[in-house]
């Protein structure tokens, strides 16, 4: 059982990464990743919603009839996002001022409905929780990577404003390259697509090399292609 959960986690973080493999949620991924802090914030907020929505959907999966499952999931997710929005606004107001813009965007992230439909509606609660967490963290990883690269190339900073997101203790993360203000293009939408394209190519190349190495060690023992859904 634990190896199966491990596989679920691995799927979410790397093998079936929301952005890099499933190519879902690209709309918010392109829109908010103008800095590492933004990407991290959006990723963490999405992870929270994904975790709870997966658990809820999994818990009621036997009661939901197939004909109305999509509307039921949509209502659940929309309500959940609104709850998170209200709660953050009321009790973590400073964080809300940074993330507020992104919270509403989570609803349009088809990754959440996608996980509800593809995984949580046919898996146990624990596995769904692990899947939600792993998929969310994989999403966070991807957004933070894209955000950091775009920020570095486009503004010459790293994790600018991290202290408003994570608290003053994290201000050591904020770096600035002196004498380099960056190429504006990378902050603009084309930069998002460029960075995503190069990251995708990089991931491909890495996996290709790994497969080639595995083949050299054990000839005839093909590693399975990452499954596509």
């Amino acid at each position: 059982m634990s190896t199966r959960l491990g596989a679920v986690a691995r799927e979410g973080l790397w093998d079936n990464n929301v952005v890099f493999v499933q190519m879902l949620a690209l709309c918010p991924a392109m829109a908010v990743t103008t800095s590492g802090s933004n990407g991290l914030g959006m990723g963490l907020a999405t992870t929270a919603v994904l975790l709870v929505s997966n658990v809820l959907v999994s818990a009621i999966r036997h009661a939901v009839s197939p004909q109305v499952r999509i509307p039921v999931f949509v209502v659940l997710i929309a309500a959940l996002v609104t709850l998170v929005d209200l709660a953050l606004n009321a009790w973590l107001h400073d964080l809300y001022k940074v993330l507020g813009l992104f919270i509403a965007l989570i609803v349009v992230t088809c990754a959440i409905l996608g996980r509800a439909e593809a995984f949580a509606s046919r898996s146990g609660v624990l596995a769904s929780a692990v899947d939600g967490l792993a998929m969310g963290l994989g999403f966070t990883l991807a957004l933070t990577a894209i955000g950091l690269l775009r920020e570095l190339l486009g503004a010459g900073t790293l994790f600018a404003q991290a202290s408003t997101l994570l608290g003053p203790a994290f201000s050591f993360l904020e770096l600035r390259i002196r004498g380099f203000d960056g190429a504006l293009l990378m902050i603009l939408p084309p930069g998002g697509f460029l960075v995503l394209g190069f990251l995708l190519a990089g991931k491909r190349a890495l996996e290709h090399r790994r497969r080639a190495a595995a083949r050299a060690v054990a000839p005839g023992l093909e590693l399975r292609e990452p499954s596509c859904r």
Partner: protein
């Protein structure tokens, strides 16, 4: 009756959808009620912090949140004016102005002294392009500080440099600073038009 048999009933799907919608609405209504006061308090705290940012320290000794006046604004909307007093005399006013930016309205809070000179401007809300237009935020760029001390009477040309004015635009974003300059100028004109009411002078 088992769940499987129940699920086959024609009325099951609509009943389920209705029940989920009802449960979601109930949860939202409860959450709205539970968070309303906290959100209002947090917003009041924010407003107080913003007021403190646009007004020089020690400028006023009254509670600006409680000393307000509602006037007809430049764009047909009502504008809430907070009066800044020291020893009961009105020394200035703080109010918000809005102007359409690149995507939607940029909302500013500005403080003006009794003579019609800008004391300070801060952006309350905007949706400008991150990395370009968001330099109007004081936390990202000192540009917005440039309004302090300017007035309609002075030599200031109220436009961005590209339009022959005195205010810098940002590389790649002209529309945003142009909107902010226009909004602040509009705010000063609004102040001039309502000077008597705001300062409480008799005509």
């Amino acid at each position: 009756m088992s769940l499987e048999r129940l699920r086959e009933l024609p009325a099951y799907a609509p009943a389920l959808l209705g029940a989920v919608a009802l449960a979601a609405s109930a949860a939202l209504a409860w959450a709205y009620d539970a968070t309303r006061d906290h959100i209002a308090a947090a917003e009041a705290r924010d407003l107080r912090a913003s007021l403190a940012q646009v007004l020089p320290a020690g400028f006023a000794d009254n509670d600006l949140l409680g000393d307000t006046l509602v006037l007809d604004g430049p764009r047909g909307a009502k504008v809430k004016v907070h009066r800044a007093r020291r020893n009961d005399a009105v020394r200035g006013a703080v109010f918000s102005v809005a102007e359409r930016g690149y995507t939607e309205d940029i909302v500013l809070l500005m403080a003006v002294d009794a003579g019609g000179t800008v004391l300070g401007v801060r952006v309350l809300k905007h949706r400008e392009t991150p990395g370009l237009g968001d330099k109007i935020e004081a936390a990202r760029h000192p540009w917005i500080e440039g309004f302090a001390g300017k007035s309609l009477a002075g030599p200031t040309r109220w436009a961005v440099k590209k339009d022959g004015g005195d205010f810098d635009q940002f590389a790649g974003a002209t529309i945003t600073p142009r909107a902010v300059v226009k909004a602040v100028k509009g705010g000063l004109e609004f102040f001039e038009a309502h000077r008597r009411e705001i300062l409480g002078e008799q005509s």
